[in-house]
């Protein structure tokens, strides 16, 4: 039911007349046990969708916070198999919350596109975001994922315009991820008016929900962005809280962010 799980989550939020709150965290940071604690608590803290980061040694689109989280994870030797096992644990307990894996091409390529897609499906993964795999390069992976009913979620950037916007949006599944800033994760505060315009442009070409992320770090910004998008993604702020204060404190933050995104502040 993978792709439909994503559809259902957005539909549920739309029915409740609020945006979906998407929470990102890094698998294996600071170790598997503690990251499992955070992961398991996300739905009850208010996350409508969960993005689980797969650590990579050379994450070119990440700011320092997520770079360092990936390094900490690799330091304790987190493997792709461990990330998939975390996903499976999550799915066993949370049957409705969509789980998206997010990372970089090489570890997935190294495992093999098809093998990865099969194992991810088996672990209850609903979608995949590969930051360094633009549509021009994603055909083999897209086919493998489609065979396993997993959505390949595409990124749209502020630089994606005109004919290219249409091209990138053809053949998308799950939802569309709008990168709200030109920059790395957690780098700058998005401009609400610019984001609202971009979301409107995207919606001219697709009926899929649009989630916005990359620069959202506090409840206030989450609320502003939620007002103009179907979903709002927060990553670096949660990862940073997890690093400084641990899982229960990170879940407290998730609660506040989710309430803001849901319009309850």
């Amino acid at each position: 039911m993978s792709i439909s799980r994503i559809e259902a989550a957005f539909a549920k939020c739309a029915n409740a007349d609020h945006s979906a709150f998407v929470a990102y965290m890094m698998a294996g940071d600071p170790d598997l046990a503690q990251s499992r604690e955070l992961l398991m608590g996300l739905p009850d803290a208010g996350a409508d969708i969960v993005e689980l980061g797969m650590p990579f040694s050379d994450p070119v689109a990440e700011g320092p916070t997520i770079q360092q989280a990936a390094q900490r994870s690799l330091l304790v030797r987190t493997k792709m198999q461990d990330v998939l096992a975390l996903a499976a644990d999550f799915r066993e307990v949370h049957s409705d919350t969509p789980l998206i894996l997010m990372g970089y091409a090489n570890p997935v390529h190294h495992m093999g596109w098809s093998k990865f897609a099969r194992l991810a499906a088996k672990s209850g993964v609903d979608g995949l975001i590969i930051v360094d795999l633009p549509p021009e390069e994603s055909q083999p992976l897209a086919m493998a994922l489609a065979d396993n009913d997993i959505a390949l979620i595409r990124l749209i950037a502020p630089t994606t315009k005109g004919a290219r916007l249409q091209q990138v949006l053809s053949g998308v599944s799950g939802f569309v991820y709008y990168v709200s800033i030109t920059g790395v994760t957690g780098a700058a505060i998005p401009d609400q008016q610019q984001v609202a315009r971009a979301v409107k442009d995207i919606k001219l070409h697709t009926g899929l929900p649009v989630a916005v992320g990359f620069g959202v770090r506090d409840p206030q910004t989450a609320k502003t962005i939620a007002d103009c998008a179907d979903g709002v993604v927060v990553g670096s702020a949660i990862v940073s809280q997890m690093h400084k204060k641990g899982a229960s404190s990170a879940l407290e933050l998730v609660k506040k962010l989710a309430e803001a995104a849901h319009g309850n502040i």
């Binding site: 050379d58 689109a61 021009e136 390069e137």
Partner: protein, 402 residues
Amino acid sequence: MTDNPWNNSPDTEGRFGGFGGRFIPETLMPLVLELEGAWQEAKTDPDFIAQMDGLLKDYVGRPSAVYHAMRLSEHFDGAKIWFKRDELNHTGAHKINNCLGQVLLARRMGKTRIIAETGAGQHGVATATVAARFGLECVVFMGSKDIERQKPNVFRMKLLGAKIIPVTSGTGTLKDAMNEALRDWVTHVDETFYVIGTAAGPHPYPQMVRDLQSVIGREARAQIVEREGRLPDACVACIGGGSNAIGLFYPFLNDKNVRLIGVEAAGRGLQSNEHAASLTGGEPGILHGNRTYLLQDDDGQIADAHSISAGLDYPGIGPEHSYLHDIGRAEYLSATDEEALDAFQLCTRLEGIIPALEPAHALARVGDLAKEMGKDGLILMNMCGRGDKDVFAVADHLGVEL
């Protein structure tokens, strides 16, 4: 060059066989597509070509000479060894051939800010030099470890007006400097031109850098034919990312009887796990915008490279080399730190040429090849850089205090 069937590679998606491509975040895709269009246009524009040719002649000092290394040839008692003297270029290496072209292109595209990554500092110095020549802002990303071991080049770049950003993320070496340059580019998309220093990265970089560096092979091919009346039996060059090698090889690709030999850095030995030989010791993967051979672990995490030469200290290789390797058109050997140090000293003593540690790797294999080929053989090696920058590192390895 139009009669070279290899002009068809890469294809329109930037593929050399199964290698190359554009594996980058969406934010950068529109930029590299624009860059590709701009480069295809510029390289056939007579005004651009004339401007390039003029600066290559008067500013860089091209054509560089070819030189019969007579005493080294006698020493090995085998094939006749010729050097292509790209170490005589302005700034002391082949790097400036590429920087000049890319900075001219940046100006043509209306970009006002130049960024670059550098390992040994040669590409950083060349980029800072050309940026100074054209009055452009220049920011160079350099691993914090490399800053420590390449102090003279860091100071040169500062004198040239460049801003040096120390990179502490990851392992603080060349691959991390490249990550950081990409992050900067994602952040400053409108005004910035990223001058990549080797024949790698997302399409069109591998092709563009090859086009710009192939001046080496074009000159050398004509020069050796003029001097020797025939083509060489082998062209030899060192390989980090592989820009000097592809520059030498490209105009010879169609000459089926010319062996093309790249020499990778074997560091402390191929069995030691401390080397930079991506083709010999790596496997295909995706990094820095292209699919190519990479040093990586069993989970697809990129491994650290090691070489005595900071310029070869990179876990990947340009995608065209991966292709030439797989189809067997070029051969790839390796040389260890020790072998490179020996060749460095041998060349200095016998020829009065202090080579950079990078071409010293190529030279380390030239000796074997010369013996193997015998007296009738003819070897053309690219002396791609001079060794002034390495004097301190070599002294250190030889236990000499300066």
